[in-house]
Structure formats: structure tokens, C-alpha cells
Symmetry: C2
Subunit: 205 residues, 2 copies
């Protein structure tokens, strides 16, 4: 529908199409929605984008995203500094935090090892993790990388680096998601679900 | 995931969720994308939203959206002023225009009759269409309302209003879309496709 659009509408559509999962049709629908909605709503959205970019930075200790440095979790004295949850990137840390129940702190690697993309340990915040392990009395690392080839490689790398130093290490469980079904689970997930089975408490007692 | 988000990120997610088809998860994905992308890209998107709102207005003649009034189509002397394509709203006019092949002009009603929503002829640009029919030498109206109950009602209303004035009236064809299949077409579409069948030229000659 390109040619018929007024220039400012076409430019907006082009910019919206740079967003993930937004194709031409979706971009047009969003643009028409903004066109019809009150000016105020568009201005607020527009300002929220730039404000987010300007306010957010990386925490200099855990590399999670934050408005203040160090971040609220690193500053919170009630969080257990002996346990670090190691994640690939900020959205992963936010997901674990939102799930609730974890009272330790985080360490965001800002990526994962990927020989194909040329990402090595030097590109991740591994040196900073060394430093924290040495200076903060860390006793346990919970590895919460994504269950992908690169995520597994990164978990293996971290394990081999810190296990010899006497830290407790664990990997978050792989298995069926809540609401998932055995019938549609892929083989790898099922294998992990089987090998990672947990004893039933009735049997233990 | 709400609680764990830094405020400026949470605000952006809230604003993105006001957009159609964007739920919490999609809004988060878009926000994280903007977070990771260069600041410039976010600023450009942000400016494009506000610029679009500020520059676009309705053409005072045809009520299509435009940056200049009257719009480029109304100003273009090569367009046939005797034929008006009547549509519900601006995206419909842009869709017809982008399809190409139409050399007349448009009239955007800015809505369609809807007894349920309390939309009457007085809420649409019907008076302005009367005026154009009277003053611009219009001879033909192509009714391109959506194939919905309200769209059909609006087409019927326009037909009853202008047929007595001696104008040629036509309704865009309803039938199977390109790539559609008989097997999955609904009954109404098939009925329209049958009753609106077109003679095959080989037979005519």
C-alpha cells in the first residue's frame, strides 16, 4: 500500500516495521490506531520510548538493567549475597525475579558463548564474575541460561570454571512446562524431564 | 513480570499495551528490542509518532487523511471528478488507491451507519457528499463499504439517497479472495460469489 500513504504516515510505518514480529500490515494497523487515538496517547508513548532509553543503564555490579547504579537488588541488604543466579541477559533476570521466590542476587553475562558468532568468554562479564566470587563471599551459583546449544555451552563453561573453586553449582530444571503435554513434547525435553525426575515426598517419608 | 521492571521500562510496556493486538508479552518484547537497539532508532520512532499526529489532517473536500488540504488526489486535475469511490474510512481509501487502477476521486464517510452504536447519517459526511454531488458534476458512485452488516446498511442508505437523483451506482464485488478456496469459504461469501458471477468473454464473443 506504500505509494498512497502521506509521507509522515509512511515514515512511521517504516519505523514500526523495524520492530520484531511487526510486518507491513501490523505496522499499518498500529499507525492507523495511533492516527485515530488522542494526540496525548501518542505523545506519551513517544516520550516513554525516549525516557526509557535515557534512564536505563547497566548496574555496574550485576549488569542487570536499572535506573540507579548499583541496582535495587544489589543495594538490598536483605538479599542473600552468597547465592548468585547467573543469566544470559536482563530479560532473563527480570523473568526469574518476577517468578518470585529467589532471594539471592543476579549476575548478567550480557550474552552467551557462541563460537559461530565469535562470542568468547572475553565478551561476557566473566572477569567481573571472578571478581564477585572472590570478593563477595559467593558460595553458590544457580545457572539459569536458556536451554539452547549456546546456553548449554555457557553453563558448561561456567561450571568448569567455578566447580574447582569449591562453589555449589546447579542448573535450573529442564522438563515439561506447566500446561504442556507429553504427546507434543519434543524428544530432548522428554529426555531431560525423565533424567531430571524428582523423588515424590510420600515415597521418601 | 510487572514488579521487577525498572519504572521507565514498566511505563513504556504499559503504553505499548494500549496498541491493538499487543499484549503484555509482546509489549515486553518490543520494549526489550528498543532497549537493545541504538538510541537513534528509538528517537526516530518516537519523533515519527508525534510528527505523524501533527502533520496529518482530513482533506476538507473528501475527508481522506492528508498533509495538505485539499489532498493530492482532490488537487490532481487528471483524476476524474465525475466518479467518486465512497468508503467508510481513510485506510479503505488508501487500500483502494494502493490497489491501483482507480482514476476517480474519493469520499470518506468517516464511519458507517450503526443503529447499535447510535451512529446516524448526521454523524457521517453525507451532507458534504450531497454538496459534492450537486456542485462537482458527479455522475457515478462506487460503493466500497466493508462487507459487514453496518457496511451493507450504509451502502443501502447511500443507494436509496442517490439513485433517485439519476447517478450511476455500483457496489464493489463480493466473492472469493485470490488464493481462497471454495472448501473453506463461508456460505454468505459463496452465495455472493455465485450471484455475482461474471460472464466469460469467450462465451460472449
Amino acid at each position: 500500500m506504500a505509494g498512497a500513504f502521506p509521507p509522515s504516515l509512511e515514515i512511521l510505518v517504516t519505523h514500526l516495521m523495524k520492530l520484531p514480529t511487526i510486518g507491513r500490515r501490523s505496522a499499518e494497523r498500529l499507525a492507523f490506531h495511533l492516527l485515530k487515538s488522542p494526540r496525548e496517547q501518542s505523545v506519551e508513548l513517544s516520550e516513554a520510548v525516549v525516557r526509557m532509553k535515557d534512564r536505563l543503564r547497566r548496574c555496574s555490579r550485576c549488569f542487570n538493567i536499572t535506573e540507579d547504579d548499583p541496582c535495587a537488588i544489589c543495594r538490598d541488604p536483605s538479599r542473600d549475597s552468597k547465592i548468585l543466579c547467573v543469566v544470559e541477559d536482563a530479560p532473563d533476570a527480570l523473568a526469574v525475579e518476577s517468578a518470585g521466590g529467589f532471594r539471592g542476587r543476579y549476575h548478567v553475562l550480557e550474552g552467551c558463548l557462541s563460537p559461530l558468532k565469535g562470542v568468547t568468554a572475553g565478551d561476557l562479564h566473566i572477569a567481573e564474575l571472578d571478581e564477585r566470587v572472590a570478593s563477595e563471599g559467593v558460595e553458590e551459583l544457580i545457572l539459569a541460561m536458556n536451554p539452547s546449544v549456546d546456553g548449554e555451552a555457557t553453563a558448561l563453561f561456567v561450571t568448569q570454571r567455578y566447580a574447582p573453586k569449591g562453589l555449589r553449582l546447579s542448573r535450573i530444571a529442564l522438563g515439561l512446562p506447566m500446561g504442556g503435554s507429553l504427546e507434543y513434547a519434543d524428544e530432548q525435553t522428554l529426555q531431560h524431564a525423565l533424567s531430571g525426575r524428582t523423588p515424590i515426598s510420600g515415597r521418601e517419608s
